[in-house]
């Protein structure tokens, strides 16, 4: 049976791993290649690298870092940050990334989702949504700095219709709080959108992961600081989830 995925996220700035608390106040958490290798040993199912400064400063994700990571690990990883052209995607996939994640560029030009999935296959196109609760859940862009009038539920459906392979859903309300994932919008997406949903933002303890899988039906759960700083060791988390009858790879 297909298992639920545990995905550490490595936010990258200037080639180093950082984790933002509500997207500001970045503190360093080490060398991304070394961290990646550690996570493979621990049993992470997949990794995500987000170049969090790429969109804001219009920088391209570091292809050389992707090459180093690809040489070092034998599990899948996704790269995101500042991707907006076919050439960007091609360069990252050729450097060894398995999937790319697009965010602001897809909101600006939703046709990118169609173009990328046609060219590379939808399975390697992850569309990330940064979302915040207002009158309903709304889409934010540029690393959560800029509001849009778009409703998250509509956007999630549109991503699927345009050929996106997965949705990486980050709740800005929950991110950095360690009070748990945004179960309501995650559950809505999991039940109303036919592509996998990766829940992100708010993981603080093992129960939060169990909840996002069993109550919100997420396909994968992503977290950063709780893994980077060893607050939740992945082997312990997976054992806990399995004991709670969640399908997990051990």
């Amino acid at each position: 049976m297909l298992t639920k995925r545990i995905i550490p996220c490595l936010d990258i700035k200037n080639g180093e791993t950082v984790k933002g608390v509500n997207f500001v106040d970045l503190r360093s958490a080490g060398d991304p290649v070394e961290l990646a290798k550690q996570y493979v040993i621990q049993g992470a199912d997949e990794l995500v690298f987000l170049d969090i400064t790429a969109t804001v400063e219009a920088r391209k994700t570091l292809v050389s870092l992707v090459e180093k990571v690809a040489a070092a690990i034998n599990i899948p990883f996704t790269v995101g940050g500042g991707i907006s052209t076919i050439q960007d995607v091609d360069a990252l996939l050729n450097a060894g990334a398995d999937k790319v994640s697009i965010n602001s560029s897809a909101v600006r030009n939703p046709n990118l989702i169609n173009e990328f999935s046609k060219q590379f296959g939808s399975q390697c196109i992850v569309v990330a949504i940064d979302t915040k609760m207002e009158d309903d859940w709304k889409v934010y862009v540029k690393g959560g700095r800029e509001a849009t009038p778009i409703y998250t539920k509509n956007w999630a459906r549109e991503i699927q219709e345009r050929g996106g392979g997965e949705i990486l859903l980050t709740s800005m309300n929950n991110d950095g709080t360690k009070k748990g994932f945004a179960l309501d919008i995650t559950k809505w997406c999991a039940e109303n959108v036919a592509i996998p949903i990766i829940a992100s933002g708010g993981a603080g303890n093992k129960q939060h992961f169990a909840d996002v899988f069993s109550l919100a039906h997420a396909d994968a759960a992503l977290a950063a600081s709780v893994f980077h700083f060893g607050e939740i060791p992945i082997p312990e988390l997976k054992k806990y989830l399995k004991a709670n009858e969640i399908n997990i790879r051990i």
Partner: protein, 196 residues
């Protein structure tokens, strides 16, 4: 040992190359017919769209070449699907090595997501390709299309329905999952292929 990875547009050859480098091999990545013919082992990797990829292969006559190979050939993911008779992805005819159809997963509810993405377990594993691979080993899948079960099935997997996680016919081997991304189990499968 000369190992060739067939190069084609939009294919993620880097991951397969890295997996072979970890086995102390120096693979050649090429779409050159002579290089391919002279290889001891040939890997036909795959990330991409069936229609786009078949067009690329045909433009270089690689479709005819691959079919005629006598050495061990390993198709991976889209590589496996293109070795089949026909794919629903872009309604395109494949190489026809396996007389098997490639179909799109159809979900009856939104909980069975398409594509299947993640780690799933293999069962009924047979063939030297899976030497020392235990039943129910986890490997990594990313796909919206699947190869039907057939007499050539050498490993099964369940997602929505049972499908061929791996196929073999004569010197042609193919896997739907990504051994190059399946941690130690995957590395063992690639090593087994190299030892064939």
């Amino acid at each position: 040992m000369k190992v060739v990875i067939i190069k084609y547009n939009a294919g993620n050859t880097k991951s397969v190359e890295n997996a072979l480098l970890r086995l102390q091999l120096q693979p050649i990545i090429t779409d050159d017919a002579d290089e391919i013919i002279r290889a001891d082992k040939i890997i036909f990797p795959g990330v991409g769209h069936a229609q786009t990829t078949m067009r690329y292969l045909k433009e270089r006559n690689l479709d005819v070449l691959i079919k005629s190979l006598k050495q061990p050939v390993l198709g991976i993911c889209l590589g496996q699907q293109l070795m089949c008779a026909h794919s629903e992805e872009g309604d395109v005819d494949g190489l026809g090595i396996f007389p098997v159809n490639v179909k799109k997963f159809i979900s009856n509810n939104n909980c069975d997501k398409i594509p299947q993405i993640g780690w799933n377990s293999l069962y009924n594993v047979q063939s030297p390709l899976f030497a020392s691979i235990p039943e129910n080993s986890f490997v990594y899948f990313v796909h919206s299309y699947y190869c039907e079960l057939s007499e050539y099935t050498i490993a099964k997997c369940d997602y929505i329905l049972p499908f061929s996680a791996a196929l073999q016919k004569d010197n042609f081997y193919a896997v739907q999952f990504h051994p190059e991304k399946s941690a130690d189990i995957g590395q063992q499968i690639i090593s087994n292929f190299i030892s064939l």
